[in-house]
Point group: C2
Chain length 556, copies 2
């Protein structure tokens, strides 16, 4: 079987100018990066600002499993299908993170016939956005430590600096360190660590910024730590916000690429879906809506994390009103939710599907709580049996939902045509009545309880007194109106990764809360959240290299 | 007076395609990065490989002072002048480092009317080359620590890992650290530190690589540390060379930009001129020579460091044969070499010029030892008096050299026309008989003594027994044939930064020697060499930001 890289290479890509033309983007707004990538000039965002907006379709998924669900391929396949069906559609995706390309996960440009291209470029440096974000993050760090070094006029407590450095690399050895060693001329010793770039607040800010001015204002609001008496110090206090914005200026312009079938795609920004909100940039989504009749976009992890944050953080912040949710599932993954081990997924097991489908059912019902019509995309594997598929369809019928078999991985647009027609029909009906789950005025702890109750079906939220006091403090500081971003495992509705399916009555333990004042949300950390991944025993990097023609090989 | 940024912005740049056409580069070989930057495809390097080569002019300078000399502006001004005089000329420069843009030094795109543009882009992320180099450097680090973490099958001694991490930032707090803290699942605790990206061996390799295969081979030869029994471990042992080459693949293609007067310029690579060889990439210089009748290129710091390395490291490694050296000086800098403080440079002081000109004289005579004709470019300041200029000319006449007054900073090409005509005449005469200073077969310690004697006029090289033993060990390992790269202060011919002018009979103390096996040279560290700069009390970053139109402001 051909690898994704082989399929991508075999495809003939159109010049990016031709893709732009299809998308209604004038030549003058293109900032080309090679022949198949371009940034879209700020001027385009200005001229498009008053255009009528298209419909917004969110692709989300069941709680992820080791079996894989195919959310990105479905986003691409659905976009291709809609374009093939005559609906002018823009696909909006997150940019892949560089680090995981060298580890276990690999790239994130879809797969099979449902890919955005050029895959090597997008997976590695692309147009440099993540490098710019890394640089902005680390310039702030350098300026903080430089401030300490030159006398600490602001009185920052070096033990209370919460701003960490960032690198787009899976590198566990950078998690915890003591730096500034070597004597008085070499810095100020203190504890620090690196997060992977997608976990940086700069990434979240980048993806929520509505324009350059908003970007700089948000950067300025970043809280980097406290003085001994508890006063918060911001990036603006450090005078870093201007230079950070300068580093991010060009990057903030959305990136245009194409799918293997020639659909235009905006691939821009990519925050974590645990400690951040997990969706591509507001700049890209907004621009896409002004250009196309339909935007198909994706949120990270399962619908309890990515979609909830899309709907409670990104949409309210950006003034977006989504029209439809597509929940992606596979028979294999549902069998895992039904208790089957990955190694035993081969044989038919209808009972396991029936046990595991509760995960899908709950995600569908959750999406309806936001006022959205929902369809299910069932990514077909060759091992799926008719009886297993029927079990999923039956479960969906019971809740008045419909599941559509998708084969875009192998067949491209044609494989998602049925799903595409269903999406067209639902959008034409226009029954969406989007609302976020809670009002801004609700106290932070209540927001958290609302998410836990409505989305996770938790019986209780455990908020230790110190955490409650911090939430209170955030409210006193004027951040009571912001949404809450829950960082918990993506593998379960609960905070326990092993509880698959649709657990009920569990307890959500809140370990700590952090204020992302620039991004504009409070992070509630529930469980062990990894903000700097490690590499496996045999990293993918060992197999990556150049072939005899100097082309990059081994990416997946 | 207009700032460099204002002058650069006021200029009307040509589309990069028009610049390429001027340079004889076919449209198909252009990989555009926006409208005014492009990378040049590997295919062009292949088709140009057999073309006759143009003449190679090296621009170097006196020992730098706080007064500034203007080596980059002279390289650009001379290139513009030659093009204006009808000689098809390509300018080859190093890429600026990002870190110093936020500190004291600022950018490095020339100044006044002698600039390469777009200056904001080139000074910040440009085409992402340095980010790629940083990523490749740090992927190797991550894979080393990951190898230690998963059982250390190669038996690396964690205390003997010499490979450091890199960041393109002035950040002193990263110089020395203990990382891998936090317990068994968080890594392997050990000492480490970050160098600025231009000091990474990956940067030196990038700039010496002749093609992709050579790049990967050199990366594989990097020695990352030793086992307990002293066996060297390479990047190839870690299986990192392929993925590092993949990260660097696109970056290795030279970058084309333009001067404000429309000359083509290849701006590519930029290693430090102390612990590395301080010149732009071999890929760019070689390509330039195949495209143009003359290439004007620049080496870092004074001629004792940059030019010596250009002539003893880069040229032999790349099979280049330079035809002429231009030594840049200013009356002001010569007065400083004559003992005048920077604050007292205003009034005429012919005697100081006469005292300080010895620095220029020696650099000129040194360049002749390489078999090169030499001209002097005297960058004119408004405060220079006729008598002071006459003193320089007189000193030059005594050694049979000629100094040409240059005003390209204020007047562009016209200001370097006289210098340009002299360069044309000398190139037409064709008297260059380039030879490097020493033969590859000379023992490493003798190479070092040769440089110290011939170039620095040192009486003695102090090589402690431990250092001598290491040099011996390098020879036993098969690295006796490589050149020696001296890392010493750029401010003096000696290792003492305060000894300006032309000191004689001094001692060169070698503190340590390092093998850059991938780059292919031995570094002799003579004195305190900073590989990670810090920020000043008031970093330039504080003044950098976006103006009301969203343009970047405050770069210089």
């Amino acid at each position: 079987m051909a690898t994704d890289l082989e399929i991508a290479r075999a495809a003939t890509l159109l010049p990016i100018g031709a893709i732009a033309e299809r998308a209604g983007i004038p030549e003058a707004a293109l900032i080309p990066f090679g022949r198949h990538k371009a940034k879209l000039d700020f001027s385009l965002l200005r001229t498009q600002a008053d255009k009528p907006r298209g419909k917004l379709v969110l692709v989300t998924g069941i709680s992820p499993t080791a079996a894989g669900e195919g959310k990105t391929t479905t986003t691409i396949g659905l976009g291709d299908a809609l374009n093939a069906l005559g609906t002018r559609t823009m696909i909006c995706l997150r940019e892949p993170s560089l680090g995981p390309c060298f580890g276990v996960k690999g790239g994130a440009t879809g797969g099979g016939r449902a890919q955005v291209a050029p895959m090597e470029d997008i997976n590695l440096h692309f147009t440099g956005d993540f490098h710019a974000i890394t640089a902005a993050n680390n310039l702030l760090s350098a300026m903080i430590d430089n401030h300490l070094y030159w006398g600490n006029a602001l009185g920052i407590d070096p033990r209370r600096v919460t701003w960490r450095r960032a690198m787009d690399m899976n590198d566990r050895n950078l998690r915890n360190m003591v730096l500034g060693l070597g004597g008085a001329s070499q810095g100020v010793p203190r504890e620090d660590g690196f997060d992977i770039t997608v976990a940086s607040e700069v990434m979240a800010i980048f993806c929520l910024a509505r324009d350059l001015a908003d970007l700089q204002a948000r950067l300025g609001r970043i809280i980097i730590g406290q003085t001994r008496d508890g006063t918060s110090i911001t990036a603006r206090d450090i005078k870093a916000d201007g230079a950070m914005a300068a580093l991010l200026r060009d990057a903030l312009q959305p990136n245009l690429v194409q799918t293997l079938e020639g659909s235009p795609a905006l691939v821009h920004g990519g925050p974590f879906a645990n400690i951040a909100h997990g969706c591509n940039s507001v700049m890209a989504t907004t621009l896409g809506l002004s250009l196309a009749d339909v935007v198909v976009t994706e949120a990270g992890f399962g619908a309890d994390l990515g979609a909830e944050k899309f709907l409670d953080i990104k949409c309210p912040s950006a003034g977006l009103s989504p029209d439809l949710a597509v929940v992606v599932a596979t028979v294999r993954a549902l069998k895992m939710h039904g208790g089957v081990a990955k190694s035993a997924l081969g044989p038919e097991d209808v009972a396991a599907v029936e046990r595991g489908v509760v995960n899908l059912v709950r995600h569908v019902e959750n999406m309806r709580k936001f006022g959205l019509p929902v369809v299910v995309a069932l990514n077909k594997f060759t091992t799926d049996t008719d009886a297993e598929i029927a079990a999923v369809r039956h479960a969906m019928a019971r809740i008045g939902a419909e599941a559509f078999l998708c084969t875009h991985w192998g067949e491209g647009a044609a494989g998602a045509a049925e799903l595409g027609r269903a999406v067209q029909a639902l959008l034409a009906e226009g029954h969406a009545k989007y609302r976020s789950l809670y009002e801004p005025a609700l106290p932070l702890a209540e927001k958290l309880r609302t998410i836990a109750r409505e989305i996770y079906h938790a019986a209780e939220v455990q908020i230790p007194p110190a955490v409650a006091a911090r939430l209170k403090r955030f409210e006193e500081m004027g951040f009571g109106h912001v949404p809450v971003c829950v960082a918990k495992t993506q593998y379960s509705f609960s905070a326990d990764a092993t509880r698959m399916g649709a657990p009920e009555g569990h307890v959500l333990p809140v370990r700590e809360v952090r204020l992302s004042a620039g991004a504009g949300f409070v992070v509630a950390v529930c469980g062990d959240i990894m903000t700097m991944p490690g590499l496996p025993r045999h990293p993918a990097a060992e197999g990556i290299g150049l072939d005899a023609d100097g082309r990059i090989d081994g990416l997946f």
